[in-house]
Subunit: 388 residues, 3 copies
């Protein structure tokens, strides 16, 4: 206890700093400063200016509304002249993945009954013996009855119970039936949030007038902030041919980048749109190329039995991918980077020491100055060199 006071005093009032050799040498001096300069340049330039190492980062949370406008007309033998509007070709009607039908294979008036299966290697037959009974092929359209019936004048196939007549999707209409979709427009309303900074913004920028929004169409050059996209235009921006894509369908991504430096005014935090085709049209081997799915509309005929119209819808699915990073000054990453930056300064000395002490011809002279050799005395030795 008595010894504690002095000890504390000693601790408080004493200041320890390493003893330094100041070596006056052009060569070594310049080298040393050079290395230090490099490290300084790196820490400042790269970490802070380029990588904004002084910032806390956060990634975006967002919600999306889409709305498609446009009408298209088809004139086919089985359906006659028909006009299609958003309620027809947008399936489902909402969400941030948006499907716009561009082409279709319609099978009218299917009923639950029996009919000849669609011909292929597995289903064609000559007699009932070729047809198993009650089998359900995963690729097939129903349950086989075991009978072999004519599909048309030329070919016979196994009969199935199911939705009849079965769909024939051998020939996809070309050009696409709804190719007027090229001129349709998609309005994308995107609201973002950076939870860590509680920062919110919309892609309908505050300085955009309502009249402008009613008329504008996105263009990378002239209207980079207009949230209304002409389908044909963005397909083109993705380097695709719309008429080609419309036939078998595909998937397009509308990417909205929100890279914001929140140390600046929020008005500098702006959306950047980019477009890309996602499905693997490039590869020559693909299962079900393009993009399609089936849905049905159900009816009842006069005597109450159910009928359906099966639609194999080909079209473009737009995935609206919103991502971004926001950065804002924060003490933690700054300190981490300064800390490691300082640690790197140590490297400068270490580096120079190695060169000075091992590779320069005057190394022994330098060593003598830097080091003080001390023998562990019970090894029965005295200090070899006297540095002073």
């Amino acid at each position: 206890m008595a010894r504690c006071g002095p000890a504390l005093a000693a601790f408080l009032f004493e200041y320890d700093t390493p003893r330094i050799v100041l070596l006056r040498s052009r060569k070594v001096g310049l080298m040393n400063r050079g290395v230090q300069l490099l490290i300084l340049a790196y820490v400042i330039g790269w970490v802070f200016v380029w990588e904004e190492g002084y910032q806390e980062k956060d990634s975006v949370v967002s919600s999306v509304i889409t709305k498609v406008k446009g009408v298209s007309v088809t004139n086919t033998s089985d359906m006659g002249l028909r006009v299609w509007d958003a309620a027809n070709y947008v399936v489902p009607a909402q969400g941030n993945t948006l499907f716009v039908m561009t082409n279709m294979i319609v099978t009218l008036n299917q009923r639950q009954s029996t009919c000849a299966e669609f011909p292929d290697v597995k289903t064609e037959c000559n007699s009932d013996d070729d047809c198993p009974q009650g089998s359900m092929d995963v690729q097939g359209n129903g349950v086989t009855t075991g009978r072999c019936v004519p599909y048309n004048a030329h070919v016979k196939t196994c009969e199935v119970i199911g939705w009849c007549p079965v769909e024939n999707d051998t020939y996809v209409p070309r050009p696409a039936l709804l190719n007027a979709v090229e001129n349709f427009t998609i309005l994308v309303k995107n609201h973002i949030l950076y939870p860590k900074f509680n920062f919110t913004k919309r892609n309908v920028l505050p300085n955009i007038s309502d009249t402008y929004l009613k008329s504008c169409v996105y263009d990378a050059k002239t209207d980079p902030f207009c949230p209304i996209f002409r389908i044909g235009h963005i397909v083109k921006l993705a380097g695709q041919n719309f008429q080609e894509m419309a036939v078998k369908g595909g998937i397009m991504s509308i990417k909205i980048h929100w890279n914001c430096n929140l140390d600046w005014a929020s008005s500098y935090c702006l959306p950047k749109y980019s477009f890309r085709r996602l499905d693997d049209q490039g590869l020559n081997h693909t299962v079900s190329p393009g993009y399609n799915f089936r849905f049905a509309k159900y009816y009842q005929d006069a005597n109450g039995t159910e009928i359906r119209t099966l639609i194999k819808a080909y079209g473009i699915r737009f995935d609206i991918l919103v991502f971004g990073k926001a950065g804002k000054f924060d003490i933690i990453p700054t300190m981490i980077n300064i800390g490691s930056g300082l640690a790197l300064f140590g490297v400068a000395t270490v580096l120079c020491d190695i060169i000075v002490l091992y590779f320069m011809k005057k190394r022994f002279y330098y060593r003598e100055k830097k080091f003080k050799y001390v023998e562990d005395y019970d090894q029965g030795l005295t200090e070899t060199f006297r540095t002073e």
Copy 2:
């Protein structure tokens, strides 16, 4: 080879530690300790206590189920008395963005035929000369035939082929038709996963009894962990007027925060709910304010021609946004922070040195103690100062 042994021995058995000047000085000593204390306080307090710099972080992966309960009744001239249930007003029936219809404009018995376009500046006409033929306006409802026909007793518009009669959405019903939605409840079941820690949890907490779940309704104060939300209540929590919002629709976010410190028991990892309106109702300039979309129900009449009921559905879309961060002790970030913390200790010495060696009146005395000046001897000089 012969020299290698001793060298290795020298390397292994020698211990190098910097030579230190211990300066006994109240002023400098206290300053030094003070600076060190500040740095210690920062490293401990801020990095570790506040920012939990010793933790590995991971962000949440989640899945959501929603279920809406409630019935609503409407009594309109064209539809008569009708009762609506979940199968009617929830479109689509599932998913983690949930739409609940609150208002609608129904256009009954549309058929593919010709009729007068809806009147506006572009479509009104006096004679057939005013009407182009075969044009499809992106905003329009069909393909113009080129004839000018009466829309009603007062006004004539260009005729179109399409779904007729065309929709008239000038007047949105006010108050909203399905305003009983205010009392509907949404059950939100949320299952989360922190992949990095393989930690899973549900918002239906294990200590919640089934009977409680059957009866409870979320309330920030009394029932903060009840996953059943009264629509009117959460709209109110978001500072909105439901009756107002119901008319034109809108987008609400139900945010579920899962900020978990997995160094504690998992029972401390609890969901926090918050509600916010996302669509830009605040701004006076908006294209298609609120939230609505169109869908149709398709029928066949007695002689098999297709009829549809077009519904322009206004309503509230609930985006359930789940996000959270989990933290768990991890050696890496800890070491990084300790490392940079230690590096900062270096700053203390550097700082004091600068003051001691450049600003104190006894600086020359201190320098003499700290530094040993050595001239590069072939610069023809001898050591200037002898520090000892």
Copy 3:
């Protein structure tokens, strides 16, 4: 100004390096090297090899296509023999959460009219007095008329206006009606993107032949990269009994992990599939266990009044969760880790110093060598120890 030149020269041409005591001592030396070795081992081994601390990380962005194949047959009293195909049991038809119906409760030919409410404690009655008028129970099926009518031969309930007859979902069909779903296959096409590195890949690997894709079925052992999954198989992989799960439905997650080290060839960046049941079937207390929702198909009868078929669909919802981290060498994290690694080297010296200077019996001898005690001279003292 005149003094500036020399000062600069002095600054540029001088090289300062700390003076070191080189202590030749087996014990201390070995200890020192030992500690240094440990730190080196940690920095190299853990930070760099294990945690890949030299890499910039990025998380995945992805898009998913799913396609279900298979037919199922049901034979119920009210519907007779029916065959179901994808257009029937996949609701909605697309998206990356996919619902496959496995069981259902169908209520045919509902009309807007009045009928007896479904019996339960709240709705059963003896006389009209028991029935409020015009009340809408959130759990109920319509608006009460105030009359008490027979639901069946045994029980009377309050009458409601709504979709009549009301659904009776007391008994869920068991075994599940569409239990053939077990053999259905899901094709999952997943396209990923690491925005930071602009790296894209698909789960349909380039080296997979088209013929293989047409025939293969996923199997962890034999076909780990086949993107076609047999529903029964993945439910089994998740440790569930399909026939049991099919009755009340549930939620399955198909997780696709993309953990890629982009310092290697992209061909090493491969998807890993895992399957898990997400809904809380484990807990004995659950509101609406399993997974189900209601949707309706709307018809018009001969005289144009609306009929609907209400379907309470039980089934399996597949959430396809894609997540992954990609790492690529980057200078910033490397430097941060090296920096803090170096700082840790300092610890070695500090540690040894403490031991050497405070705990070894020769501590005074060592201190004498390391420290040079200097009194602040105006404290009227001279240097106590002369280290040289």
